[in-house]
Amino acid sequence: MTTAWIAVVAVGLATVALKGAGTVVYADRPLPRGMAALMPLLAPALLAALVVGQTATDGRALVVDARLAGMGAAAIALALRAPLLVMLAAAAGVAAGARALGAA
């Protein structure tokens, strides 16, 4: 088996198990009360972590680069209640522009 196949099979199996463990353990019964109260707050916590992680980090380094300019444009588009596609295009366009002007 090649390196690629080993990685694909191992990561695939691990991910299937990670995504599916919850529904296997909590089959047809409600979540424990404390956990149920926690679940609605999981989305804002994880989404915020994804936002800062994908805007301002690279591996273990905190970085300021063109992505931050793109996020500024996205925030403005969001505040103006622009459609999602317009907001995404603004983020990509401004990041690309900043990069073309020499930002990392």
């Binding site: 690629a4 109260a37 989404l47 915020a48 972590a49 805007t55 990509a92």
Partner: protein, 252 residues
């Protein structure tokens, strides 16, 4: 606020939720499923364009990493989680060990343990069916499937299917079509996903607890980034949700 009062509040809230949940479940089974599937697919449509473009760039990177044609495509179908797949291709492309690639990807996907638990109450049917449906949970489909703090099965499956088709088709195009596109960063595509997550996040901030969870999650993720391997800061950000339970809820 006293801790005991918070617990009592939480208990009353969860009892009320359990009652409405079972009523809603009845109402939604069957008749509403098709409408939810369509609504989920529609909500995911603009996101799917971004996912498709990223699928192309994953395909290109995977091919440059010498992963061949079938493995990257199969990976998009089975792993179906962008950041972990990019991590594998990046490590292999840089000549890293396969164990390093696997560990990095599994760390990045650890958050799916929590996401899988939050999805669990929405799924029904045999164990095999629930296991299969849970695979359609990816950050974006999970975020758009949240209704009043709960995951709605039809929304999750509709959005997940559209995203899986877009992500996998993009991967096929990238693997076969090649690097005519150049570096995705030149087009600012790497700024599109945090922007997307920001839009999804803003839709979630409907109460004081949600805002505290977001703030705490973001701060935790940033603070831990230099200290622990990639992927773990996002997992630790879940503690922001635990912290948010300690503040009194105020809905807008």
């Amino acid at each position: 606020m006293e801790a005991s009062t918070i617990m009592a509040d939480a208990a009353r809230g969860s009892q009320a939720r359990t009652r409405t949940r079972s009523a809603e479940r009845e109402a939604r089974s069957g008749r509403h499923l098709r409408a939810d599937l369509v609504a989920g697919a529609r909500a995911a449509a603009p996101i799917a364009i971004a996912a498709g473009l990223f699928g192309v760039s994953f395909g290109v990177l995977a091919r440059d990493a010498g992963m061949g044609v079938v493995p990257p495509i199969l990976m998009s179908l089975t792993t179906f989680a962008g950041s972990a797949q990019f991590a594998v291709a990046s490590v292999l492309e840089a000549g890293g060990a396969v164990t390093a690639a696997i560990v990095a990807a599994v760390l990045l996907n650890l958050r799916y343990l929590a996401i899988g638990v939050s999805v669990a109450p929405a799924l029904r049917g045999s164990a095999g069916r629930r296991l299969a449906e849970a695979q359609l949970a990816v950050d974006e489909s999970w975020a758009v499937s949240q209704t009043d703090g709960r995951v709605q099965r039809g929304l999750l499956l509709g959005a997940g299917l559209v995203l899986m088709v877009a992500w996998t088709s993009g991967t096929v195009a990238g693997v076969l079509g090649g690097s005519a596109l150049g570096d995705p960063a030149d087009y600012g595509l790497d700024a599109m996903f945090p922007a997307l997550f920001l839009a999804l996040l803003v839709g979630q901030l409907d109460g004081r607890r949600a805002r505290v969870a977001a703030l705490a999650g973001g701060v935790i993720a940033l603070a831990l980034t230099p200290l622990v391997p990639p992927g773990l800061p996002i997992v630790a950000a879940a503690l922001g949700a635990v912290f948010a339970l300690t503040v009194r809820e105020v809905r807008q």
